[in-house]
């Protein structure tokens, strides 16, 4: 037969002869060349399926168009507004959280500095026996411990465990530094007490820096 191989089929499909053949009725074509008839039938079927799909798509689009209500054009605007509000609240929350953390860190920084001051004065006081500087040091020690208690009292409830640690520390430091022969003219030097003060302060300062 003339058009048996693939190359020839392809040549035929793009030839004027094919166009001419297409003008024949399917019956004529069926009789003339059954192979091309099957191919054309297959194309017709494909086209038919494509047409059905397009109709379906059109029907769906038409339905969608009918469903559009008055709010539909505002949906993107509403979405943008909701997004902006959410972003605003998130930013505000993040900002206030950061501020709070900064204030807490500043407060703990002040407490650390105060503890270091008390430590320095107290060690200097107890490492030597009663001397002319005692009255001045005693005043500083008492006022700074009172200030420490005030600072600790001002720590927020959300830092309860830190507050408890610092309360215990302030109480122990007060007993240690202002106990025994504090404010006595007979006071002897106590290197042991000075050492205890240093270790107590070092412990709490390490504790504070781990919390910062």
């Amino acid at each position: 037969m003339l058009l048996q191989n693939t190359t020839l089929k392809s040549t035929f499909l793009h030839s004027p002869m094919f166009e001419y053949a297409c003008t024949f009725s399917s019956l004529q074509l069926c009789n003339a060349c059954p192979e091309y008839s099957a191919l054309i039938n297959e194309n017709i079927l494909t086209n038919e399926k494509l047409r059905v799909s397009i109709d379906l798509l059109n029907a769906t689009l038409l339905r969608q168009e009918n469903n559009i209500n008055v709010f539909t054009p505002y949906i993107p605007i509403i979405a943008v507004i909701i997004g902006s509000i959410a972003a605003y609240f998130f930013t505000r929350y993040h900002w206030s959280f950061s501020e709070k953390k900064k204030i807490e860190a500043d407060h703990l920084g002040k407490i650390s500095t105060l503890i270091s001051d008390i430590e320095k004065i107290s060690i200097g006081y107890w490492i030597e026996a009663h001397n002319k500087d005692d009255v001045e040091n005693e005043i500083y020690i008492k006022s700074k411990i009172k200030l420490l208690a005030k600072y600790v009292k001002n720590i927020g409830k959300e830092q309860e465990s830190k507050k408890n640690d610092l309360n215990d520390f302030a109480s122990n430091l007060y007993d240690l530094v202002t106990g025994d022969d504090f404010e006595s003219h007979n006071r002897m030097a106590s290197k042991n007490k000075a050492g205890l003060i240093a270790f107590l302060c070092a412990d709490i300062l390490a504790n504070i820096s781990s919390h910062k």
Binding site: K142, K146, K153, A170, Y174, S184, H185
Partner: protein, 123 residues
């Protein structure tokens, strides 16, 4: 109810543990000359209100423990009775710390655990 105002009735500058430390302003002097006689003068179920922040800036623990816990330590009164008879008052919130310390020293004191030997004022 009787009132003992430390700043007005005793001293605005209470210091030291014994008379030998700070003359008339010591914890020993406060206990022996003010707190003990006032407590003894209370009627049955009468309360002694002690104002701790009127004119006083601060206290050392040597003064507070000797002045208050000394009452129990030298066997003048049990800690339960003492805690029942006194009421620590302040208006300045900073003095809450000292109130807690006073109550803590009393609660920790051992009744009649020491014999009181008066000391002589420092000259």
């Amino acid at each position: 109810m009787k009132t003992l105002n430390i700043g007005k009735d005793f001293s605005v500058d209470p210091i030291g543990r014994y008379r030998s430390d700070g003359d008339k302003r010591s914890g020993e002097a406060f206990r022996e000359d003010f707190l003990k006689p006032t407590l003894q003068s209370l009627a049955l179920n009468e309360i002694l209100e002690i104002i701790i922040d009127d004119g006083v800036e601060s206290y050392g623990s040597s003064f507070l423990s000797e002045g208050f816990a000394g009452m129990v330590k030298y066997g003048y009164i049990t800690k339960e009775e003492l805690l029942k008879k006194i009421e620590i008052k302040y208006t300045n919130e900073d003095f809450e710390f000292f109130k807690k310390k006073i109550l803590g020293y009393i609660a920790a004191a051992k009744y009649n655990s020491k014999v009181y030997v008066p000391t002589q004022p420092y000259v």
